[in-house]
């Protein structure tokens, strides 16, 4: 008996039982099911939700791998054990030592994220008797990429549980949720454990531990790993070049730093038609627009160097695209089809406002100098409203046609 027929027999055995969804989830992971069409079209396209989600995951892999190396690189750089890498391809960056730290710190995040999230998905599927939907495959990959590398695993587990249950399952699961689940998880972490999500100690592995050691009286140098946004918000000098920002050799959340790899992932998503180019493009335009407005304000002399907003406002408008989590959020989070606008026209408005508000929050929020998370969550809430008005345009056209006829 082959594996195929063995699994088929098992499937028949589980059919109708409570455990069927759990078994099917594993089975369909190995084999495309033997289901045939009935009632409607007799043929179907090759794509299914698994393939769609898998494409997003593939586009995230470069960011994940880069994030692992960067975790080690930032760690050793802060310790002073290595010198600054001279470029993206410098062997100082792509070293085994860096990767080992990355594997050691990042893989557990991935495992906890998937383990907790999928476990909850399976439990809900079994209780409610529906199939395990694939939405969490992407969420589970996004979550470790948007948290600081030293995030304690138990915090992540609590946040994932919160995000999956409150952010998604209570609405009915994949396809029904209002807020992006990955961002719900991050927002939970941010508001529940703010000290672990911002400041200058969390972005580099070892910084927090070192701080504690110093506090305990050990004679060591503190490790500082301020993000560029953090520095700008406090009006400090930036020591990184634009090229560093673009390639990603900077501190930040695990997978968000490399604008070039995010750009690659974004282009891949657009090419495969999985990600919406409308949202990505309009979001970039929105951010540039807001950046230009702030630059204009500074140029007009309305804001002096003494202002606490000066640092971020005077940042060249296009640098905003490279720093912080903006690029990652735009490409991978704003484009989540379930929580974004669903009409093409709506996507333009939705994306533009995300970019616009991201930079606005970034500049004016003193406590937390990144706005893309809150901007996307805010627009998630407004996406149905945007769609409503776009669809009403179509309805009105129909009404007008009727009126012209009867008049």
């Amino acid at each position: 008996m082959s594996l195929k027929s063995n699994l088929h027999n098992l499937k028949e055995k589980y059919k109708g039982t409570k455990m069927a969804p759990a078994f099917n989830a594993l089975h369909t992971f190995l084999y495309l099911p033997n289901e045939t069409t009935h009632g409607g079209t007799h043929i179907k396209v090759a794509d299914d939700l698994k393939r769609t989600m898998n494409t997003v995951i593939m586009s995230l892999i470069p960011c994940l791998i880069f994030g692992m190396f960067n975790a080690g690189y930032q760690h050793y750089l802060a310790l002073g054990e290595i010198s600054q890498a001279t470029g993206f391809f410098d062997s100082v960056f792509w070293s085994w030592d860096n990767l080992v730290i990355g594997l050691w710190k990042v893989l557990p995040l991935v495992i906890v994220s998937y383990g907790v999230g999928l476990a909850i998905e399976f439990v809900f599927a079994v209780i409610k008797g529906h199939e395990v939907e694939e939405g969490y495959l992407v969420t589970g990959m996004l979550v470790p990429l948007i948290v600081p590398v030293d995030t304690p695993l138990w915090m992540l587990a609590v946040a994932v549980a919160f995000g999956v249950v409150i952010g998604k399952e209570v609405f009915g699961g994949t396809g029904m949720n209002i807020l992006n689940p990955a961002l719900t998880i991050r927002a939970f972490l941010f508001f529940a454990y703010p000290t672990w999500m911002s400041g200058d100690k969390v972005w580099v592995h070892g910084a927090v531990a070192r701080d504690k050691a110093i506090a305990a009286g050990e004679n060591l140098d503190a490790i500082s790993g301020e993000t560029i946004l953090g520095s700008l918000a406090q009006g400090k000098e930036i020591t990184y070049s634009v090229w560093d920002m673009f390639t990603g050799l900077i501190p930040g959340s695990v997978g968000e730093t490399s604008a070039v790899l995010i750009l690659l992932g974004g282009l891949f998503l657009i090419f495969t038609k999985i990600g919406s180019w409308r949202i990505m493009l309009s979001s970039v335009l929105g951010a540039l627009a807001m950046g230009l407005i702030f630059n204009g304000v500074v140029d007009a002399g309305w804001i002096g160097e003494g202002s606490k907003f000066y640092g971020l406002m005077s940042t060249e408008f296009w640098h905003h695209l490279l720093i912080g989590g903006f690029a990652f959020g735009t490409v991978f989070m704003a484009t989540d089809p379930v929580t974004a606008s669903q009409t093409n026209k709506g996507k333009w408005i939705y994306g533009f406002l995300i970019g616009f508000i991201s930079i606005l929050i970034r500049v004016f929020n003193p406590a937390y100098p990144e706005g893309v998370m809150l901007a996307i969550l805010l627009m998630n809430v407004f996406a149905p409203t945007i769609d409503h008005y776009v669809v009403q345009g179509n309805v009105k056209r129909r009404m007008k046609r009727l009126k012209a006829k009867t008049a």
């Binding site: 190995l30 090759a46 794509d47 299914d48 939700l49 939907e133 999985i274």
Partner: protein, 451 residues
């Protein structure tokens, strides 16, 4: 006068097994089966009980809600079986055909002298009325409502569909008679569409408004054409009719005989030599299919109609009342190892997610009936709009049907659509939602609640 309709949104599904342009006479079928389910929403009242002898054109049953509307036998013979389902619903009426066919003589119809009422009464009595369908609701036309226009699509863009230019050859006289008769039933125009570069016999008819259609499927769907030519508003009714049924109506008017003969394309990748057959409505499929190159032990699906909106029929089933295509494709009831993530070269896809049909848009595919994935909630957005040329939001209207909000369904354009308009969106649906079924149920709900 000719108006061009150019469709940009859509998708041509190129399949293997296109019919070669030769016609054979199919072996005369011993049995003829009429299934009331072909006539959606009609409640049949049986006239010809088991054992009754009928002529071709004689009433078998009529519409319970409109007694004038007769449904007639396509052949002469004896009613041998009335198959009933749950609650004694009539599922099928099986007629054993005579060797020598006899016809009811309805008499040659004087077209010039007839007014609308006379035409209507004649078509209702002779069993030709069911060929006329109406929108809204995509059901047999209500004879008491006059349509604002009548639409005939002479352009078949569905995958492997029979080519109207070919099957209608030499039928100009019949179609002209039918057009004249139908023209009397509407105050508006009779819109006829043909392919842009076709030499359709329909193009030469008088009394029509001709439209030349180009672009990918669903450009040939009559619903697409209505939406582009003269969209339906609330309270309005349009009628649609297949060009091949015009021939049946025309022949009845000219000769007084209900002749159910029809040229049918036998197509699909499981057919060894796909071509056309002359047969009759309700004929058994088996002789035609198995004697002409479909493997009898093969694991195939036989479809009366095209692969997108046809009906699955059993090997001992019969040709649908409205279809002019029989498609046979392989069943896909097998597992595929890592089928969800490995690169795909032999299936069609509108995305490029490791699917490579975009590399070669002209390639012909051998698709089977596998769903290529499981049923899911709506997730992906924006893909339906790429293949949906109607000025309607497809996902929004589908959702409105699912939560049965009548006001919203109406506002979003439910009066304008038929299930077949959603065949392409169903085909490309990543969540494998049954779009046509959702729309059908939505229409039925509206028919029941609003009427």
């Amino acid at each position: 006068m000719s108006n061009d309709i150019k469709i940009k949104k859509g998708l041509n599904i190129n399949l293997k097994g296109d019919a070669e342009k030769t016609t054979e006479n199919a072996i005369i079928s011993n049995y003829c089966t009429i299934r009331p389910e072909d006539f959606h929403s009609i409640i049949p009242k049986l006239v010809a009980k088991e054992g009754t002898k009928v002529k071709a054109g004689e009433t078998v049953f009529y519409n319970k809600d409109a007694e004038d509307m007769k449904f007639v036998s396509p052949v002469s013979g004896e009613v041998v079986e009335v198959a009933r389902g749950e609650r004694r619903r009539i599922m099928a009426i099986k007629i054993q055909a005579d060797k020598e066919q006899t016809y009811v003589d309805f008499g040659k119809f004087n077209l010039d002298a007839a007014d609308a009422d006379k035409v209507k009464a004649h078509l209702l009595a002779s069993g030709c009325w069911p060929f006329i369908k109406q929108r809204p609701y995509d059901v047999i036309a209500n004879p008491n409502k006059s349509p604002k226009a009548i639409f005939v699509s002479g352009y078949a863009s569905a995958p492997l569909a029979a080519d109207y230019d070919y099957v209608l050859q030499g039928k100009e006289a019949e179609m002209q008679a039918a057009i004249i008769a139908l023209g009397k039933l509407t105050e508006g125009q009779v819109h006829v569409s043909v392919g842009k570069n076709s030499n359709s016999p329909l193009a030469g008819l008088s009394g029509i408004t001709l439209h030349k259609v180009s672009g990918p499927h669903p450009s040939g769907n009559v619903g697409t054409q209505i939406n582009k030519i003269d969209p339906i508003n609330k309270g309005e009714v349009v009628w649609t009719i297949n060009p091949q049924d015009l021939v049946v109506i025309g022949e009845l008017l000219l000769t007084g005989k209900f002749n159910a003969e029809r040229i049918v394309a036998l197509v699909g990748s499981s057919v060894k030599k796909p071509r056309y057959f002359k047969t009759k409505i309700g004929s058994e499929i088996a002789t035609m299919v198995y004697d002409n190159g479909v493997d009898k032990d093969g694991n195939d699906r036989i479809i009366s109609g095209n692969v997108l909106s046809g009906k699955q029929i059993k090997p001992d089933g019969a040709l649908d009342y409205y279809s002019n295509t029989v498609t046979v494709i392989p069943e896909g009831d097998d597992y595929e190892f890592f089928g969800w993530n490995k690169p795909v070269f032999n299936k069609i896809s509108t995305s490029r997610a490791m699917t490579f049909s975009w590399l070669n848009p002209k390639k012909k595919y051998d698709l089977n009936t596998n769903t290529n994935g499981e049923h899911r909630a709506f997730v992906v957005t924006g893909s339906y709009e790429e293949v949906f040329p109607l000025d309607i939001y497809p996902m929004q209207i589908l959702k409105a049907c699912m939560y049965q909000d009548l006001d919203e369904m109406e506002a979003l354009g439910m009066y304008e659509v038929a299930p077949e308009d959603f065949a392409l969106t169903e085909f490309i649906c990543v969540s494998k939602q049954p779009h046509q079924k959702i729309i059908r149920q939505g229409l039925d709900l509206m028919l029941k609640e609003i009427g």
